[in-house]
Amino acid sequence: MILALLLLVVALCVVLAGWAGWFVARDRAVILNQLWGGAVIEALILVQGVVAIVLGATGSGAGDPLLFWGYYATTLVILPVAAAWAFAERTRWSSVVLLVASLTVAFLEWRMWQIWTGA
């Protein structure tokens, strides 16, 4: 895992969560641009996966690979599912869904870092 990449993902998640939080306050539903934001994060998570595979293959992988990839799979799935689930609801509650999903991904990234470094 590359710390800078991970921090970028976390930062983007926090930004997306803030954006969604703003929409909750303004009583607005999720818009397509927010989903594009989620797609950027998702792409970066995929890059993280490739990096993790390469590092694992060169012998500097996660302390507990099974646990790490379990968390990775969950992290990868959450945003797309939450985006589809949120977008079908055209009320402010869809923004709450995006908020929860973004913060969850940020939290899972932190856990992945803990597992990777064996902390």
């Binding site: 646990l67 379990g70 968390y71 969950t74 599912v81 009320t91 929860v100």
Partner: protein
């Protein structure tokens, strides 16, 4: 009991709409967490604490079924939701209390140990929010008030 704009629409509100979207989302996240945890435990270290890890697996199954039941929200699935969410409430309180009384009772910690403290007490709060939501969306009186425009109901409530 008016079902005005949409013929055939059930008078009871769907559990997966409005605030229910958020509830299902949190349930989904917890379901993922529980599946991940229990499958890891089953594969790697089941023999260390069979009771604790069986409980984790049971919790995972209950969360998954509850998530789908709340998301679908038809009257049949509503019953399933009542049962699974109720099971969770009983499970987290029982296991939480037992683990508090005797930390080593299950050999290892579970999702429900310490009332779900490992998950920010979300497992403790969630089933009761779920029961409240099922009750609220299930009463026809609540559904009847302006239910003709279901999409607007939530906005009116939160405005």
């Amino acid at each position: 009991m008016q079902e005005t704009t949409r013929p055939g629409r059930p008078a009871r509100r769907r559990t997966g709409r409005g605030f229910g979207r958020v509830l299902v989302t949190v349930y989904g996240v917890l379901a993922f967490a529980a599946i991940g945890r229990s499958s890891y435990e089953l594969v790697v270290k089941f023999h260390e604490a069979p009771v604790a890890y069986s409980l984790s697996t049971l919790a995972a199954v209950v969360y998954v079924v509850a998530t789908f039941a709340l998301a679908i929200g038809s009257s049949r699935w509503r019953t399933v939701a009542w049962v699974t969410v109720g099971l969770e409430a009983v499970g987290v309180v029982t296991v939480g209390a037992l683990s508090l009384a005797d930390p080593g009772v299950f050999g290892e910690s579970t999702v429900w140990s310490g009332f779900g403290e490992g998950y920010g007490y979300v497992p403790l709060v969630l089933p009761f929010v779920g029961l409240w939501w099922l009750r609220r969306t299930g009463t026809r009186a609540a559904a009847g008030a302006g239910e003709g425009t279901a999409e607007h109901t939530d906005e009116e409530r939160t405005a």
